[in-house]
Every structure is written in C-alpha cells, then in structure tokens.
C-alpha cells in the first residue's frame, strides 16, 4: 500500500536541436537541465504530497467503511428489536381483545342475572338518575316496557310522580335516602320490602341500588299465625274463666264444705289455672304487639306508687322462697311520667317475677327507683343465676329462654321480656340489663318525663 500509485519520475523525451545554435543550445540546454532539475524537485515534493493525501484518503475510506459496518449492524439490531416490539404489541392487542370479549360476556351474564332476578331492582347512577330497571319492577308495578324505558334518566322524585310508581313515594319523601327493609303495602294482598343501598366501586360511589322484595306471602302467613294465636287464646279464655270461677267458689266454701286434702288439691289446681291465664294473656299481648293494635291509655302517674304497690304483691312470694325483697328510692325527685298503668305494671312485674324465679333461696332482690338524664328509672337487681354471656343478645327475643333458665325453672314462655321491651319502647323509654352469670343481674328501664311523652 506504500507503493506510490502515481509517479512523475520518468524523464521527458530529449529535444531535437539544430547544429547552428550550438552555444545557444548549450545555454539553453543548461537552462533546460536546470529547469528539469527544478521540475524534478517540484515533482518529488508533489509526489510526496499526493502520496500523503492518498494515504489519508485511504484511511478515511477505511474508517468510513468501518463506521458503515457498525451503523449497519446497529440498524440491523434495531430492526430486530422493533420486530420484537411489534410482535409483543400484537400479542398485547390480542390479549386485550380477549379481555374485552370476556368483559362483554361478564356484562351479559350480569345483565341476565339482573333481568331474571327474583327481586325488583332499580339502579340509579352517581348523579341519582335512574339507569336501569329490571322486568320484575315492571311486573310489580304493572307498567309496560315503554313506560319503564321512559323512567330512565329520571330522579326518584320524578319517578314517584308517575302514578303506577307513586306507592314508592311513601318510602322516599323526595330524595333517595338509604332505607333498610322498609315495608310498603301496595294493596291488602301485596306487601313489599324496600331496601336502598349505595353501590361503591374502587373509585367511590358508582350509584344507588333500590331493591324491592315481595314479602306478601310471609306477611300472610304471619298474619294467619297471629290470628290463630289470637283466636285460640280468646277461645281458651272462656273455659278457663269457668274453671277459675268454679274452683274459687268451691275454695271459698260457696258450694259446701270441703276437707283439708280436697282444699290442698283444689288450691294447687287453682294456681295452675292462674298460670294458664297468665300464659294466655302473654300470648294475646304478643299478638297485639305484632298486629300493631296494642292500645295505650296513658295517664300522668306517680311511678313510685306503682312500684311500691307491686312490691307489696310479691312480699309473700319472696318470703316463701326465702328471698330478701326490698325497695329503695335512690333519687330525691323522680320525674313524673305519663304511662299506661296496667302495661307498666306488667313490665315491672315481669322483671320482679324473673328475679323471684331465678334467684336461689337466701338471695336478695332490690328494686330501686331513681332518675337518669331527666327520665324516671326503675332497676331490679338480684343475686340470681344470671344470663349466659353468649345468650345475652337474644334475651329480648320472643319465645327465647336461656339454657340456665330452662334448667332452673321448666315453666316459662319466653315472652315476658319481649313484651316488656315492646311496652317500654312504646312509651318512648329504654330497657337494658347487665348480668354476671352465676352472680347477679340488673335490669333497668327508663321512662321519659310526662311533658316529653
């Protein structure tokens, strides 16, 4: 590569001279030779320069080639990379399509569930506008598809103005407030249970779901059951009062003399009959509570007088069971209350009787009358068997009797506390208890002062 490509070193051809010009020619020759030498010298310099340039050019070319190769390589790599990306992108698109299809399937499934759901459903969007109605709603309110479609986009206040949907206005005064299992009677035979719940997604409230559940059948069965109990109890009263009257008159000697043994048996029979009367009265009270036709005749009363009177009734029974029954007024002033005397007596009696029943001999029952937050408060505290911790939340449930209570006393309807709670709450009061099983129990009820009732 170092061999010069281009050379000027080849001598030029000799010039032809005429003989007459010998000296001139010699001079000229010398000049020419001189020029030739100069030329040759210049040529040499040029040659060096050209060769240097050539080398530089050659180097440049080589570098260019190298760079080209590198660039090409890089390009190839990039193309390969982008091909990979393209494939990845295609895969992603495919996956997305798959997801979309699955989401669509899920949506269809959900819609099918909503359409065929046994409850009526109305879904309101986040702005409280109706977005969806299922066919069950159309069914329940006897509206057609067009009418149901026309409701879409409306607020609940618009919807209840549409006559067939107007019964819902009973539940919603204007806005879509949250309700839980509110009963709604459409007519004598149809009763719905309306619930409203907020539907929240990951990003917060999506909308509100109104659920309408048909409870007509349950209501009818419940009513029949209550009616049955009511009729049975009333029918039972007639023969039972005849038994009571007969036994009483025999025991009073109105039907002739009886001997001691007869008296003992008849007395026990009379007491059994009294228990039966109490049971029937409890059942009747429960049916009245359940039918909502418990009538309260409230009068302004002195609760102290009521409680003292009751204590007097139970003193004999307490003595017989060797129990200490006491009464104490623990606040200087007891608020005057407005109460149905018979019913509040029943509440206090139920609590005192429970204490008498479930407190072992030698125990103590103290009844106190006090005041709490301006309310009159009656407390019945005993040293009895108590209520098992795990059963405490069921104690006011109808027909419920705790396991230890059943063991201690087989007789009992499990209605007393249910009735007591209903009566106290109907007076605007509250009933509560604390119990330490095996040691003590305290039942308290408060009644609001007369002016607030």
């Amino acid at each position: 590569m170092d061999k010069p490509i281009y050379s000027n070193s080849a001598p030029p051809p000799p010039a032809k001279l005429s003989p007459g010009d010998q000296s001139l020619r010699e001079r000229e020759l010398a000049e020419l030779s001189e020029m030739k030498a100069r030329l040759e010298e210049a040529n040499g310099v040029l040659e060096v320069r050209i060769n240097a340039k050539t080398r530089a050019l050659r180097e440049l070319a080589a570098n260019l080639e190298k760079e080209m190769k590198e660039r090409t390589e890089e390009l190839r790599r990039k193309v390969a990379e982008s091909e990979n990306s393209r494939v990845a992108l295609m895969n992603m698109l495919e996956d997305m399509e798959d997801l979309r299809r699955r989401a669509e399937e899920e949506r269809e499934k959900t819609m099918a569930i909503i359409a065929n759901f046994s409850d009526g459903l109305m879904f309101f969007d986040a702005r409280d506008r109706l977005a969806l109605v299922n066919p069950r709603i159309e069914n329940y309110f006897s509206i057609n598809k067009t009418e149901s479609k026309n409701m879409i986009g409306g607020r609940i206040s618009d919807i209840v103005r549409f006559a067939p949907m107007s019964p819902l206005g009973e539940v919603f005064a204007g806005s879509l407030e949250r309700v839980s299992r509110r009963e709604l009677s459409l007519n004598e035979k149809t009763v719905f249970e309306v619930s409203v719940l907020e539907v929240a997604g990951r990003a917060g409230k999506i909308g509100t779901l109104l659920i309408i559940h048909d409870i007509s059948r349950e209501k009818m069965v419940e009513k029949m059951k209550t009616e049955f109990v009511s009729i049975a109890a009333h029918q039972l009263r007639t023969p039972i009062s005849a038994i009571k009257w007969t036994l009483r008159m025999i025991l009073d000697g109105d039907l002739g003399p009886i001997n001691d043994e007869q008296r003992e048996f008849l007395d026990k029979t009379y007491k059994s009959n009294e228990r039966m009367i109490n049971l029937i009265n409890d059942l009747l009270n429960v049916t009245r509570i359940e039918e909502g036709r418990q009538v309260y005749n409230s009068v302004v009363a002195d609760i102290e007088e009521v409680v003292r009177g009751l204590i007097a009734n139970y003193e004999d029974m307490a003595r017989q069971k060797n129990l200490n029954l006491s009464f104490e007024k623990i606040a200087p002033v007891i608020p005057t209350v407005k109460i149905d005397l018979e019913k509040i007596k029943l509440v206090a009696s139920n609590l005192i009787e429970n204490s008498l029943k479930y407190t072992p001999a030698g125990g103590k029952i103290s009844v106190t009358l006090g005041e709490e937050d301006g309310n009159a408060m009656v407390e019945v505290i005993d040293t009895g068997i108590g209520i098992p911790a795990e059963q405490q939340d069921r104690i006011f449930t109808k027909y419920f009797r705790s396991a230890n209570a059943i063991k201690a006393e087989t007789e009992g309807t499990g209605l007393g506390l249910f009735i007591a709670k209903n009566i106290v709450e109907a007076h605007g009061g509250k009933i509560r208890f604390v119990s330490e099983p095996g040691r003590a129990t305290k039942f308290s009820f408060v009644l609001p002062p007369a002016e607030f009732n």
């Binding site: 009263r237 007639t238 009062s241 005849a242 009257w245 007969t246 009483r248 109105d254 039907l255 009538v295």
Partner: protein, 124 residues
Amino acid sequence: MEKILLIEDEELIIRLLSKKLAAIGYDVSLAMDGREGLEKIKQIVPDLVLLDIVMPRMGGFEVMAEMKKDEKIAGIPVIIISNSGQPLELERAKDLGAVDWLVKTEFDPKEVAEKIQKYIRPTD
C-alpha cells in the same frame, strides 16, 4: 230486694254467679242471650244489669244501644262481664253507658259481687 239481671250465655258462669249473688242477698233474674235479656230488662226493670258481650242472637253492645233508646231503662247501670277486655271495646262500652267492665279471667264471683256493691247495696 235489689234486682239484678244477669245476661250471660255460659251456663256454668250463670249458675256460679247467681248462686253467689243470691247468697249475698240480691234478687237475681237470668237471660241466656241479648234479645231475651232486653225483653227482661223492659219487663223487670232491674236495679243493675250484668251483661256479657259475645252472645248468640244479640250481643251486649246491641243490648246497651237498645237500652239507650228507651228512657224507662236507659238509666239502669250496666256492668260488663266479658272474656276479653280490649281497650277499644272498653271505650265503646263506656260511650254506651256501661259503668264498669270486668274481665272474667281477672275477677272471680266474690270480686264481681264486691264491684256490684259499689253501685247497689243488697237489702239486709
């Protein structure tokens, strides 16, 4: 002798109560249903009526309503003796002029007699 008319369809109750009242010293007449009772009220004009509510032919409420129409008997005190004692029934009886309401399971013949004595005393 003070006259009491007992209008009641249950035989056992009639026999027990009339025995008790007679022993105390009242002149007790009986009627087995409301219609018969109303006739006897007009005929005897008793000093007090003991009246059951649920009876065949004519119920206690109807008897009281009829009594109100006839001024000769309108003022006779009526004590209801019934198997039930719904507040609404009590209210209705009061409006019709009943002076008292006794539920049979809550009272016995002796207590019924005591109640009666609040309104008419037996002749000694």
